[in-house]
């Protein structure tokens, strides 16, 4: 599961990755024509909308791609840098940058690109940006109130608007397509081209159909967490879903068995109850943990049987269904939940006058278990929730 840094790619190798990504970034920007200020500002005077086309195409491709990665569980979005929102700082900073764009003719990334091919104005621009940072640093007491006001955390746009991720992505794609169309009209007008902005040539048909496909594809990657949580709301579906179960006796036997190494109890009770008392070999889990990179390394361990426990079986079932839908194997649930376990094993009342040999065995086993397991629980120092060492990466500028 991504991000690959720091598990698969170490932090030092990441610098080499940065260099390679930078080379590709620079080459793409230069090939697109971002190395000349005349082309860049064309966007604001209507004679050249290259920047708008490249920028928005890249934005929507990346947006849908990241949605796809998250949908297939290839990336843990909790570890991905989401730019923080300081509302007024973002707006005023953006306006200042906009002013800088029409005065200076570059933005920082494109200025580096232009400087690399020898544009003197770009080298001066970088010098200016350098000074700008120093001005900000020295005048920090002045800027700080604005810089730190209205901190909204790291919200996503669709959460702020209270809409689904898919609808928002769809709106962004449609917005981009309309912008491309409008840009072509303006561009032709300013440059005195009389041909219609969209003609029935294979090129335009291709671009328009790819655009429409992108807009539709905004809906093929629904947010997995919401979809699965909705799925398990349906009680009859949950009851009919095939889930492997483990009897209370088997669990009791495995808990007591010293030689047992396969058992992993995944406990979905609230943290309070878990820390109060929990079975040996158990780990506290929450619904969110199922989607996260570090906790679910535990579930991927081979040769282990993961028994999901909670107070009632319905809860266990729901979690087990979500886990199976996420692709986890060897998941079992405890029959009747921990409530049944407590009632039938820990507070076992021997059957009086057992009628057959099974009942005799049951009496014998459970009487033994009800003595042994409370001691094990007492001695078990609960490990607490899965420890998450990885933090969100710090990105941005």
């Amino acid at each position: 599961m991504g991000p690959l840094v720091p598990d698969i790619i170490s932090n030092n190798l990441n610098f080499i990755v940065a260099l390679v990504i930078g080379i590709l970034f620079g080459a793409i920007l230069e090939q697109a024509g971002f190395s000349t200020s005349k082309k860049l500002v064309g966007l604001f005077y209507g004679y050249d909308f290259t920047v708008l086309r490249v920028f928005f195409t890249a934005g929507i491709v990346a947006m849908i791609g990241v949605m796809g990665l998250a949908h297939f569980g290839l990336i843990d979005m909790n570890l991905v840098y989401i730019n923080p929102t300081f509302l007024w700082s973002a707006i005023i900073g953006g306006l200042i940058m906009g002013l800088g764009f029409v005065i200076g003719g570059f933005c920082p990334g494109t200025s580096v690109c232009a400087a690399a091919i020898g544009k003197i104005d770009a080298i001066i621009f970088i010098g200016g940006a350098f000074l700008g940072v120093l001005i900000f640093a020295e005048g920090y007491p002045l800027f700080e109130p604005l810089y730190k006001t209205s901190n909204l955390g790291n919200p996503t746009f669709f959460n702020m608007l209270g809409m689904s991720q898919n609808v928002f992505a769809f709106i962004m794609v449609v917005f981009a397509l309309i912008a491309f169309w409008g840009a072509s009209i303006v561009e032709n007008k300013v440059n005195g081209i009389t041909k219609p902005p969209i003609r029935l040539t294979p090129y335009y048909i291709g671009i328009v159909s790819i655009g429409i496909l992108m807009a539709i594809s905004a809906f093929i990657f629904p947010d997995r967490k919401n979809t699965l949580s909705d799925l398990v709301q349906d009680k009859s579906f949950v009851k009919l879903y095939p889930v492997e179960t483990m009897t209370v006796d088997e669990l009791a036997f495995r808990v007591m068995d010293d030689q047992e190494t396969k058992l992993q109890i995944i406990d979905f009770r609230p943290e309070k109850e878990f820390t109060k008392e929990s079975l040996p070999k158990s780990t506290l889990f929450s619904l969110d943990n199922l989607y996260e990179k570090e906790p679910n390394q535990l579930l991927w361990l081979k040769h282990k049987i993961n028994v999901f426990v909670a107070n009632d079986e319905m809860m266990e079932r729901k979690m087990a269904i979500i886990a199976s839908e996420l692709g986890y194997k060897r998941i079992k649930i405890l029959q009747g939940g921990l409530n049944a376990f407590k009632e039938q094993v820990l507070n076992f009342k021997p059957i009086e006058n057992p009628k057959n040999i099974d009942e005799v065995y049951q009496n014998r086993f459970r009487t033994k278990a009800m003595k042994a397991i409370p001691i094990l629980i007492k001695n078990n120092k609960s490990a607490g929730p899965v420890e998450k060492k990885q933090k969100r990466v710090v990105g941005g500028c």
Binding site: G22, L24, T36, V54, F55, V61, P108, V133, C397
Partner: protein, 172 residues
């Protein structure tokens, strides 16, 4: 030899988008640019006036956020070094390497130099307030649908369009 034509903008956009997806998948963060300039600025001040950095709040906060190593041992510094190399190679292949100062047809070299310097300064200040520039806040913010990133993006475009009229003589 003549300069090669530029790449089709939609194709370039798709390539840039794919690069951004790969970047987020591998590193958990997006692309950026202004952060590297900040790292160089902080390093310069640290080298010239170490006492000053120890007593000034901005540098102290920077040191707290980036503990330990030198500000130059930073992901964005490596990435921007890559941008320089990549753009240079691309310019070399397409015959666009040339020392020149570009300016609008109705403006003087002096004004262009002053404009580039002041424009750069505004970006230096603005990108600190916006916590990123067109790459770090706007583009990467759009990829992860960050509220702040997209707001900054619209503010950059809104600002540029709002002020474009007053500086039209610079460009057209």
């Amino acid at each position: 030899m003549e300069e090669s034509k530029y790449m089709n903008p939609y194709l370039a956009g798709v390539l840039l988008g794919l690069l951004l997806i790969a970047t987020i998948y591998i590193t958990g963060r997006g692309l950026g640019a202004s952060g590297a300039i900040k790292s160089y600025a902080v390093t310069t001040v640290e080298t010239i006036a170490p006492a000053h950095t120890e007593s000034t709040k901005f540098y102290k906060e920077y040191a707290e956020e980036h503990p330990g190593t030198s500000p130059l041992l930073n992901w964005l510094v490596f990435e921007v070094t890559g941008v320089l190399i990549g753009a240079f190679l691309s310019g070399l292949i397409s015959n666009r390497l040339d020392f020149k100062l570009e300016k609008g047809p109705r403006t003087t070299t002096k004004i262009r130099v002053a404009g580039a310097l002041i424009g750069g300064m505004l970006w230096g200040i603005g990108s600190q307030l916006g916590r990123g520039c067109t790459s770090g806040a706007a583009l990467s913010g759009m990829a992860v649908m960050s509220f702040g990133g997209i707001i900054t993006m619209f503010a950059i475009f809104a600002g540029a369009y709002a002020f474009a009229y007053f500086f039209r003589k610079f460009w057209i």
